[in-house]
């Protein structure tokens, strides 16, 4: 990595001032140090946001829970109230990286992490995402890549937490140009769907402050399949959340990771689930709807049946 300056911010405003146009925020540092070590980013300054006041807490509420950007993934995994209220979120946290990573990785870092595409992460490959002229994955080794995208790049979103947040209809609060902006997970990633160089919708200097989760849904679940049994990126991940009253679903939401640059959600499928009973026929139909239009490439077609299975299983897990 190249040399950089370093500063610790004590207020959101000063953090944004110091990071300016050519800095990077650092919290857990897992993602950023990886990028720095491969010379993929080259910031003039790293601004630590770990000391920002009040952003390292989980605040419960009757309608909304707030999770500060500096809350670690391990804290979410171990948080007894989160495990009870948003089990899908705790399950997603448990599948993040390894214990060593979860201990330092933060909520803000997890949802704003960059692509894991092996071309993007490669020090000597200048791909579309790094403002090169082609998406290598599209025509090359794409077993870990997307089934859906709105642009030429087929690098998928890999944040576990984002998938769980999407199913829970959580909102990210982002400090932008001096004031907080609220974004759904769909909005938080929308830019990556359209723009190959984007990993999410954040502008330079934008800072994730917290994530708010409505308590609307009483049930949630998360599942993923990886090649290895632990400490491996999801080939496909799936989160679901809903209310279940007398066996009937309401407000159901399903989101998938690692198959699109954004948490993959299909409104029509969520609407279809309204009022339905959780059974094989329902979940199979929902999975069909969610995966309709998938465009497999040479090596990632397996993600279609895998995602289908995960959707069905995650929805059925809501009943567990």
């Amino acid at each position: 990595m190249k040399a950089f300056e370093y500063a610790t911010a004590h207020s959101v405003n000063s953090a944004q001032e110091m990071v300016a146009d050519n800095g990077q925020y650092i919290a857990g540092g897992n993602d950023l140090l990886g990028l720095l070590k491969e010379y993929i980013v080259d910031p003039k300054i790293l601004v630590s946001v770990k000391s920002l006041p009040g952003l390292d807490r989980v605040e419960t509420g009757s309608k909304v829970w707030t999770i500060g950007t500096n809350v670690t993934v391990a804290q979410i995994e171990d948080h007894s109230a989160i495990r009870k209220t948003f089990p899908g979120l705790a399950q997603a946290a448990a599948e993040v990286g390894s214990q060593q990573i979860r201990n330092v990785a933060t909520v803000g870092g997890n949802i704003s992490q960059h692509s894991r595409c092996w071309y993007f992460r490669h020090r000597d490959v200048l791909c579309l995402k790094k403002e090169g002229d082609m998406c290598y994955a599209r025509h090359g080794e794409n077993k870990y890549h997307s089934l859906f995208t709105g642009n030429t790049c087929i690098s998928p979103v890999v944040s576990n937490l984002a998938i769980a947040f999407a199913a829970l209809d959580a909102t990210a609060v982002v400090q932008r140009a001096g004031k907080p902006v609220r974004m759904s997970m769909a909005e938080f990633y929308a830019k990556a769907f359209e723009n190959p160089t984007a990993h999410n919708s954040l502008n330079p200097g934008d800072l994730v402050l917290k994530v708010e989760i409505p308590t609307t849904r009483t049930h949630s679940a998360y599942m993923q399949t990886s090649e290895k049994h632990e400490f491996d990126w999801a080939l496909v991940s799936c989160a679901a959340a809903a209310n279940i009253t007398n066996g009937k679903l309401s407000n159901a939401r399903v989101a998938l990771g690692s198959i699109s640059p954004v948490p993959h959600q299909v409104d029509a499928a969520n609407e279809y689930l309204e009022g339905k009973t959780l059974d094989e026929a329902t979940v199979t139909h929902a999975a069909d709807m969610i995966l309709h239009g998938a465009k497999p490439h040479e090596h990632n077609g397996y993600k279609v049946p895998m995602a289908h299975a995960l959707i069905r299983r995650t929805l059925l897990k809501l009943n567990a």
Partner: protein, 218 residues
């Protein structure tokens, strides 16, 4: 920073900070803690440092390590190459193998993915800091008893992961051990033995996960 609130140091309060030093050595720790707090305050001052070298003070295994480092130097690099603490190993330098695992305030982290300047003001424990007066810890002894090591290069990292697990969860299940140790790789293949060692160290007398037997040919 509000000067009327000196107890607030960065992400944690001075009280938790002191607590993290452990209760056995509070008297000496208190003096050290003041030094550390002063260092921490310096680090946490909202001023830009680097890109050249800056003074960095690390508290490793209870001792103060004063170094002059660029902000980009990782904790692992600082331990192995700017001091003589080579017990923590470099296996990948990318947070994927766990050979560099150390504990920071009793929590295992990859020292290769942590900037040294960010490890200031915290209690860092490396594998060198576990055995006291030449006596192996329970975890180390269990590794020895179970032959939970071969070439030994990944071993310090595993010892740290298992030690941290047992501090947090003294009676882990097999799944707990898997979950806590999935961030450490061993190419020699000592995993089944490590599982046994973790159980032995946790006080489970007999572990019957695997069977081994010698039988005669004739």
């Amino acid at each position: 920073m509000n000067e009327s609130e000196p107890a607030k140091i960065g992400p944690f309060s001075r009280r938790t900070f002191l607590k993290s030093l452990g209760t056995t050595a509070v008297a000496t720790a208190a003096v050290q803690a003041q030094t550390m707090a002063a260092e921490l305050e310096k680090v946490n001052a909202e001023k830009t440092i680097g890109p050249g070298t800056v003074p960095v003070t690390l508290k490793v295994n209870g001792e103060m390590l004063k170094l002059q480092l660029e902000p980009r130097v990782t904790l692992l690099d600082a331990l192995r190459n700017y001091s003589s603490l080579t017990g923590s190993k470099e296996g990948c330098d990318r947070g994927t193998c766990g050979a560099c695992t150390v504990m920071i305030n009793d929590v295992p982290v990859y020292s290769c993915m942590k900037l040294a300047i960010e490890a200031q003001g915290q209690a860092i424990t490396t594998v060198e800091g576990l055995a006291k007066n030449g006596k192996l810890t329970k975890v180390q002894q269990a590794f020895l008893n179970r032959d939970a090591l071969m070439c030994g290069y990944c071993t310090p990292g595993f010892v740290m992961s298992v030690t941290a697990l047992l501090r947090k969860n003294p009676h882990p299940t097999a799944d707990d051990v898997r979950h806590a140790c999935s961030g450490n790789l061993c190419r020699c293949g000592t995993y089944p033995r490590i599982m046994e060692a973790a159980f032995e160290a946790s006080g489970v007398a007999k572990v019957a996960i695997n069977k081994t037997e010698v039988i005669p040919y004739a």
